[in-house]
C-alpha cells in the first residue's frame, strides 16, 4: 500500500464469497492498478503461504484493464467507493490432447478416470485412454447418436453400461468392455418416441433414465434389462426382413417400454436431466417451446414451468448446488434461471455469445463456474457472477468448427464437435 501521493487513488471495498475473506474496510487503491496488483494485494493482506490468483469483479464485470480505465469507461468519479468482489481465478486453459474422429462427435463423457467416451454421428461409441489410443469402438446405432450418458454401476471396472439416444427413434443401453472390446453388446433398446431422440440422461444412482425427443415427449425408464420384449415387434415387412435377419444374428437387444411418459412440451424437447442428488423424483427439461419445466417423475406431472419468450433452448444444465438452471438458446444467450423462486420468469442473468451456444456444462465443485461450447468453435468458461464477459475462452480446432458437446469432470474439459474430440485442462487441478 505504498501509493505515492501523485497517483490518483480510488476508495475500494472488497468482498468475496470465497474462503479468503478480507476485513471489510475501505482501501485506497491507486487507480493505475490492474488485476495482478490487486491479486497480490489480497494475497499479501491475507499472508497466504501459497499464492492464489484472484479475479476481480467490479459491478458484475470482470476487471481487465486498470481501475482508472474502468472508472472512466463507466463514469465513476474518484470519490465514489467501489465495491469489488474477488473470486478465485481460472487458470488459462491448456490443451492436453486431440482425438480426431471420422465423423462429428455429438456427445462426450469424461466421467471415467483414464478414459474418454465419445458418441459420434456415425453411430459408434468410442473409448479413448489418456494416451489418445482408441480402446474400443462399438456400433450402437445405425443412425447418428445424439446423446450419451454413462449409467453408474457397481460392477467391476472394465465393463460399463452406457445409454445412448439416436436419430433412429430409439435409445439404447449398451454394455461395453474396455478390456475386451469384442464383448460389448446392446442390452436393451428403448421404444417410445416417434421422432429422433434428442437427449438421454441418468440419475446419480443409475436406476433411472430420461429420454427426450423431437416429438415433445419425455420418457422415464428404469435401467433393468427385461427378460423379454416389452414392446412388440412391428409386423414384419417385406423390406425389413433382410435387415431384421442381420440384427438377429447379433444378440438382439430387448425392446423396452417406458415407465412414464411426461407430456407437456409443445415442441421439441432438447434436453432432460435429473437434478444432482438432493431432489429426488424430480426432473428438469427444456425445449424449443422456450420453456424450462420441472417434473415430478413419481406422478409424471409438470410441476413448474418457466416461460422465456422466443428462446428455443438447446441445452440445459443445473449448477452443482441445485439452485439454478442454465440453459443455452438459439438467440445466442446462456440464461441463468433461479429455481428457488416460483415466479414465472425467473431469469436472473443472461450471458451473450457471438455465436449459437450449443451446449452447457457446470463445474462439479464450483457452483459458479460453467462452460459453454458454441458453433464458432470457442469454448467459454463463465462465472455466473460476471455476466459481461467470460472468465476464459479457448478455441477448439482453431475455431471454424462447431462445438457440439462439452463435458467438464475432474478439471478436464472434453470438447466434442465437428473436429472430433479435444481435451483441455481447465482449473481445479487439485481435484
Amino acid at each position: 500500500m505504498d501509493n505515492t501521493p501523485t497517483t490518483v487513488s480510488q476508495p475500494v471495498v472488497f468482498s468475496t464469497q470465497t474462503q479468503y475473506p478480507l476485513p471489510s474496510q475501505k482501501f485506497m487503491i491507486p487507480a493505475s492498478w490492474r488485476r495482478y496488483q490487486l491479486s497480490q494485494l489480497v494475497n499479501k493482506a491475507l499472508s497466504l503461504e501459497k499464492p492464489v490468483p484472484f479475479d476481480f469483479l467490479v459491478r458484475g464485470e470482470l476487471l481487465h484493464a486498470t481501475l482508472s480505465q474502468w472508472c472512466s469507461e463507466n463514469g465513476v468519479g474518484e470519490e465514489e467507493t467501489l465495491e469489488i468482489e474477488y473470486i478465485e481465478s481460472v487458470m488459462p486453459p491448456q490443451k492436453m490432447s486431440d482425438f480426431p474422429h471420422e465423423d462429428w462427435v455429438s456427445s462426450v463423457s469424461c466421467q471415467f478416470q483414464g478414459y474418454f467416451l465419445t458418441a459420434s454421428y456415425d453411430g459408434q461409441i468410442r473409448a479413448f485412454d489418456y494416451s489418445t489410443n482408441l480402446v474400443s469402438s462399438t456400433l450402437a446405432h445405425s443412425a447418428p447418436i445424439t446423446s450419451m450418458c454413462v449409467i453408474p454401476t457397481t460392477t467391476d471396472d472394465s465393463t460399463y453400461t452406457i445409454a445412448t439416444s439416436s436419430h433412429d427413434l430409439t435409445a439404447q443401453i449398451t454394455q461395453i468392455n474396455l478390456e475386451m472390446p469384442s464383448s460389448s453388446k446392446a442390452l436393451a433398446s428403448l421404444h417410445l418416441h416417434t421422432a429422433p431422440v434428442s437427449s438421454i440422461s441418468t440419475d446419480t444412482s443409475g436406476t433411472h433414465l430420461l429420454t427426450s425427443s423431437w416429438d415433445g415427449l419425455i420418457g422415464l425408464w428404469d435401467t433393468t434389462v427385461p427378460a423379454s420384449d416389452e414392446v412388440p415387434e412391428p409386423t414384419p415387412n417385406e423390406r425389413d426382413r433382410k435387415k431384421r435377419r442381420r440384427v438377429e444374428n447379433a444378440a438382439k437387444p430387448k425392446r423396452k417400454a417406458p415407465l412414464l411418459v411426461l407430456k407437456s412440451h409443445t415442441a421439441r424437447v432438447s434436453k432432460v436431466l435429473f437434478p444432482s442428488g438432493t431432489e429426488e423424483k424430480k426432473a428438469y427439461s427444456c425445449g424449443f417451446d422456450s420453456t424450462v419445466r420441472r417434473w415430478d417423475t413419481e406422478h409424471g406431472i409438470c410441476e413448474h414451468t418457466i416461460n422465456a419468450s422466443e428462446k428455443p433452448f438447446l441445452d440445459l444444465a443445473l449448477t452443482s448446488d441445485g439452485n439454478s438452471a442454465l440453459a443455452v438458446s438459439t438467440d445466442r444467450t446462456l440464461t441463468l434461471f433461479d429455481l428457488r423462486t416460483s415466479g414465472l420468469t425467473a431469469s436472473s442473468a443472461t450471458f451473450h455469445h457471438p455465436a449459437t451456444p450449443s451446449c452447457v456444462v457446470p463445474c462439479e465443485s464450483n457452483s459458479y463456474q460453467v462452460v459453454t461450447g458454441a458453433y464458432d468453435g470457442v469454448v467459454r468458461v463463465w462465472d455466473v457472477r460476471s455476466t459481461k464477459s467470460a472468465m476464459a475462452t479457448f478455441k477448439a480446432w482453431d475455431g471454424q468448427q462447431k462445438v457440439l458437446d462439452v463435458d467438464w469432470k475432474h478439471g478436464i474439459v472434453g470438447v466434442g464437435g465437428e473436429g472430433g474430440l479435444e481435451v483441455w485442462k481447465v482449473g481445479e487441478e487439485k481435484a
Partner: protein
C-alpha cells in the same frame, strides 16, 4: 300542208347535220328556228345515248309522205288521224326499234334507214314564194311578197284589220294556235307536234316526247360477265397514288403560314376599338419581393490612399510581378501609388472600365435570396417502429452447410421444422438437421437439381425432387413406422387408382416393393421429353396436389400432379409468356401464375381468370402469398419487390427497391409476421410485415435486417430463402455452395 312540213323538216335538218353542220344552216329564220334547234339538240342527245346507230326514217312517215303527194283532200283526214293517234304517232324523231343483234346477241336499237329519195331534199319542197331567205320587209311596200318558181309575182294575201283578226279568233277556235309565216305572209296554224313541243319547252320538259329519262342502263363495261379482271394498262402505279399530295401540302402550308403570321385569324377577336379605361393603382401589389439592393463596394483601405504608408508601396519586383500577371489573375486591380499631395493625383484612368465592369456585374450576376428549407430531416423519415421492438427475427448466421463446388440451387424445410434438404447443380440432395447442420443422408441424381419441396402434410414424410424431365419422391430415413407405412401407401398404393379417362403423356413409375431402399425414389413422375428442368414446386396445403413449373423445355411447363389419383395434368393449354412461378392460394381454390410481367389469378374450380396483377416488373423472378391469402409479394430481376393487397388493386400497394441486384427469392413466414427476400447482391433482407384483420388499416412493412454472409459467385448471390415453419429462422442457399441457417 303543215303536217308534212313538220314531218319533213327534221329529216331535212338531219341531213344537213350529217353533211355539214354549218352555223349558217343552224341559224334558221322565223319562229320555228327554236324548234329546229331543239329538235337538233334532241336528236344529238339521242345520238349520244345510242352511238353508231344511224337514224332511220320510220316507214310510216314515208308512207305518209307518199300519201301526201296523192291529194290534198286527205289532209284533213290525215290531220284527224294524226290527232286521233295523238301522242303515239307523234314522231318528229325517227322511230327506233330494239332488235337482238346477230353478232353480239345483245339487244340493240335500230333506227329506220333514211331513204335518199327525192322527197328527202328540202330543195324540192314546194314553196310558192321563192325569194329565199331575205328580210321580208323589203316587200313591205309592194303589192306582192315575192316570186314563184316561174317568176310570177306572188301576191300578198289579203290581210284583215284587227277586227278581222279578232273575229277570226272568235270564229276559228284554232286561230290562237297559229303563227304568222313571214314567207307567205299568212297565218299558219301550228301542227299538233309543234304545239306539243312548245308545251314541253314551256313546262321545262325534254322537248323529245320519246325521251325516256328512266330507260334501263346499258352496261357496256360493267355487270355480270363484263368484269375487268386485268388492269387496263400494265404501267406501274404512279407514285402520286400513295404519296401525299404535294400540291395540297403547299396549299395547306400557305394557309398555315398565313395563320402563323396572323394574316388569317382562325377565331377573329372581336374588334374592340374602344379604349377601356382602368385604374392603374387598383391592382394588388405583386407577391414578388422588392429587388435586392446591389451589393456595396468595399470601403477603400490604406493601400488605396493617395498617400499610403511606405509599407504598402510595392517594391520593384512586386510591381514587375504584378504587371506580368494577367489582369484576371491579379490579386488587386491597382498598384498603390504615393503622391505627396492631393493636387498631384491624376485623373482616375480606369474609371470608365471600372464602371463598365460594375454594371456588368450588376446586370449579369443574378442576385437571388436563397430560401433555405427549414425542415427537420428527421421528420421526413417515416415513423416506423424500432426493429428491436419487433423481435424475434433472424439476425445472425447460426451455422453453414457446404455443397462442394457447385451452386446450392434449392432448399426445402420439413413441415415440422427439423430437417433441411438442399440440392445443388451437381445433382446432390443433402438432408441435414436445421439446428446442427450435420448431413444425415445424401442422394445423387443425374443433372441439376431444379427444385425441392417437402410435402406439407404432418402425418406423412416425403419430399419431391425435380431433376431434368422427372420428379422423384423420396422418403427420408429414420421415420416412425406408422408414418412410413402411411407414406408408402400414399406414394405406392397396392391397388393403383383407375387410370384417367384422358391418357396423359406423364408416366408415374413406382419400382417394385422389393427394390425399395432409402437411396432410391419410391415414386418417379416422368414428365414428357423435352419438358425441361422443373425449377419451381408448390404444394397445395393439403398435400395432395403438387404444381411444378419447368423451364428450358420446348413445351409449356406447368403441371399439376395429383398424388391420390396418380395423374398429372397441364392446367393451361397455352400460356402467354414463360411461367416463372405458380402458387396455390392458401384458402381459396385459386391458383397464381406469374409470367414474365404479369401475375394472373385463376379460379381452378370455375376454370376462369379472376384477376391479372400488373406489378410493373420487367421480369418476375419469384412470388409468395401471405398465409391470410390477401397479400402477395412479387420479386423481380429488376430489383423491385412489389407488395400487392389483393383486395385493393391490381397495382402494387408498395414497391420496395432495396436490393442492389436482382431479387432471386422471397417468402413469407407461415406464422410470424416476417418476410425475407434474397438477391444477387449476396444479401438477404428481412422485413416485418404485419397484416391487420380490419380492411381499413394498411399493412405495416418495416425493414428489419440485412443479412450478409454469402459470397457472390459468377454474379449470382443468394438463390433461395426458406423460413423454418415453427421458428423465426431462415435458411438460405447461395451460389457459392453454402446453405446458411439464420437464427433469431
Amino acid at each position: 300542208m303543215a303536217v308534212p312540213d313538220a314531218l319533213r323538216k327534221p329529216t331535212k335538218r338531219k341531213q344537213v347535220d350529217e353533211e355539214d353542220a354549218s352555223p349558217e344552216d343552224l341559224q334558221a329564220t322565223g319562229s320555228l328556228e327554236m324548234l329546229s334547234d331543239e329538235e337538233d339538240a334532241g336528236d344529238t342527245s339521242s345520238d349520244d345515248g345510242q352511238i353508231d346507230e344511224f337514224p332511220e326514217i320510220f316507214d310510216g312517215s314515208d308512207s305518209d309522205e307518199s300519201d301526201f303527194d296523192e291529194d290534198e283532200e286527205d289532209e284533213s283526214q290525215e290531220d284527224d288521224e294524226e290527232g286521233a293517234e295523238s301522242d303515239d304517232s307523234l314522231h318528229i324523231f325517227p322511230k327506233a326499234k330494239i332488235v337482238v343483234s346477230e353478232i353480239t346477241s345483245q339487244p340493240k336499237t335500230v333506227y329506220p334507214e333514211i331513204e335518199p329519195d327525192y322527197d328527202s331534199d328540202s330543195s324540192t319542197e314546194e314553196d310558192p314564194n321563192r325569194v329565199g331567205n331575205i328580210p321580208m320587209h323589203w316587200y313591205d311596200d309592194l303589192p306582192h311578197i315575192g316570186y314563184d318558181m316561174n317568176g310570177k309575182q306572188v301576191l300578198r294575201p289579203a290581210r284583215g284589220d284587227e277586227l278581222d283578226k279578232f273575229l277570226a279568233t272568235v270564229d276559228d277556235s284554232s286561230a290562237w294556235t297559229s303563227a304568222f309565216d313571214k314567207n307567205t305572209q299568212t297565218e299558219k296554224p301550228l301542227t299538233s307536234e309543234e304545239l306539243d313541243l312548245i308545251r314541253r319547252l314551256y313546262t321545262n320538259e325534254n322537248p323529245d316526247a320519246n325521251y325516256d329519262p328512266y330507260e334501263p342502263m346499258t352496261e357496256w363495261f360493267t355487270g355480270k360477265g363484263k368484269e375487268e379482271i386485268m388492269p387496263l394498262s400494265g404501267a406501274l402505279q404512279p407514285k402520286r397514288r400513295w404519296v401525299p399530295s404535294k400540291w395540297e401540302k403547299q396549299k395547306v402550308m400557305k394557309i398555315v403560314r398565313a395563320i402563323r403570321q396572323s394574316r388569317i385569324l382562325p377565331s377573329k377577336p372581336k374588334a374592340t376599338s374602344k379604349f377601356e379605361p382602368y385604374a392603374i393603382w387598383s391592382e394588388p401589389s405583386s407577391s414578388h419581393p422588392p429587388p435586392l439592393p446591389a451589393p456595396k463596394r468595399p470601403l477603400p483601405t490604406n493601400a488605396e490612399s493617395y498617400n499610403p504608408p511606405e509599407e504598402y508601396l510595392p517594391t520593384e519586383e512586386e510591381r514587375k510581378a504584378w504587371e506580368a500577371l494577367d489582369p484576371e489573375d491579379r490579386e488587386r486591380d491597382y498598384l498603390p501609388q504615393k503622391y505627396s499631395s492631393l493636387r498631384l493625383v491624376p485623373a482616375y484612368d480606369s474609371f470608365v472600365k471600372e464602371r463598365f465592369h460594375r454594371q456588368l456585374d450588376l446586370y449579369l450576376a443574378p442576385r437571388v435570396q436563397r430560401v433555405k428549407l427549414n425542415i427537420d430531416p428527421n421528420s421526413l423519415i417515416p415513423k416506423l417502429p424500432s426493429p428491436n421492438s419487433l423481435k424475434p427475427f433472424p439476425n445472425y448466421k447460426s451455422l453453414q452447410f457446404h455443397h462442394s463446388k457447385s451452386r446450392a440451387r434449392c432448399i426445402s424445410i420439413s413441415p415440422d421444422g427439423a430437417w433441411v434438404i438442399s440440392g445443388d447443380e451437381s445433382g446432390v440432395v443433402s438432408l441435414w438437421e436445421i439446428t446442427v447442420g450435420r448431413e444425415v443422408k445424401k442422394w445423387k441424381f443425374e443433372g441439376k437439381i431444379g427444385a425441392l419441396a417437402w410435402c406439407p402434410r404432418m402425418d406423412v414424410s416425403y419430399f419431391a425432387v425435380g431433376i431434368e424431365g422427372a420428379v422423384h419422391f423420396i422418403i427420408p430415413p429414420n421415420v416412425d413406422p406408422l408414418v412410413l407405412s402411411l407414406t408408402q401407401s400414399i406414394l405406392a398404393p397396392t391397388t393403383l387408382p383407375p387410370p384417367p379417362a384422358t391418357p396423359s403423356n406423364v408416366k408415374w413409375i413406382t419400382p417394385p416393393s422389393n427394390t425399395w431402399s432409402l437411396d432410391t425414389p419410391i415414386l418417379t413422375i416422368n414428365l414428357p421429353p423435352s419438358s425441361g428442368l422443373p425449377t419451381h414446386f408448390c404444394w397445395h396445403r393439403r398435400g395432395d396436389y403438387l404444381a411444378s413449373v419447368s423451364t428450358g423445355g420446348t413445351q409449356g411447363g406447368v403441371w399439376i400432379h395429383q398424388l391420390t389419383r396418380r395423374h398429372s395434368q397441364a392446367p393451361f393449354k397455352k400460356i402467354k409468356g414463360a411461367v416463372q412461378s405458380v402458387l396455390f392460394h392458401p384458402l381459396k381454390p385459386h391458383f397464381f401464375v406469374a409470367t414474365q410481367q404479369y401475375v394472373r389469378i385463376y379460379n381452378l374450380s370455375e376454370q376462369k381468370l379472376v384477376k391479372t396483377l400488373v406489378p410493373g416488373i420487367k421480369w418476375i423472378s419469384s412470388m409468395d402469398v401471405h398465409s391470410s391469402g390477401d397479400h402477395l409479394i412479387v420479386g423481380g430481376y429488376d430489383r423491385k419487390l412489389c407488395w400487392f393487397d389483393l383486395e385493393l388493386s391490381e397495382k402494387p400497394y408498395k414497391v420496395l427497391r432495396y436490393h442492389s441486384r436482382a431479387i432471386r427469392s422471397l417468402q413469407f413466414h407461415p406464422t410470424y409476421p416476417l418476410f425475407a427476400s434474397s438477391s444477387d447482391d449476396g444479401s438477404i433482407q428481412i422485413f416485418h410485415s404485419r397484416v391487420y384483420n380490419d380492411l381499413m388499416t394498411d399493412p405495416l412493412i418495416v425493414p428489419l435486417k440485412i443479412l450478409r454472409g454469402h459470397h457472390v459467385t459468377d454474379g449470382l448471390g443468394v438463390l433461395q430463402v426458406k423460413w423454418c415453419p415453427k421458428h423465426p429462422w431462415l435458411v438460405s442457399s447461395a451460389a457459392d455452395g453454402s446453405v446458411a441457417v439464420w437464427c433469431s
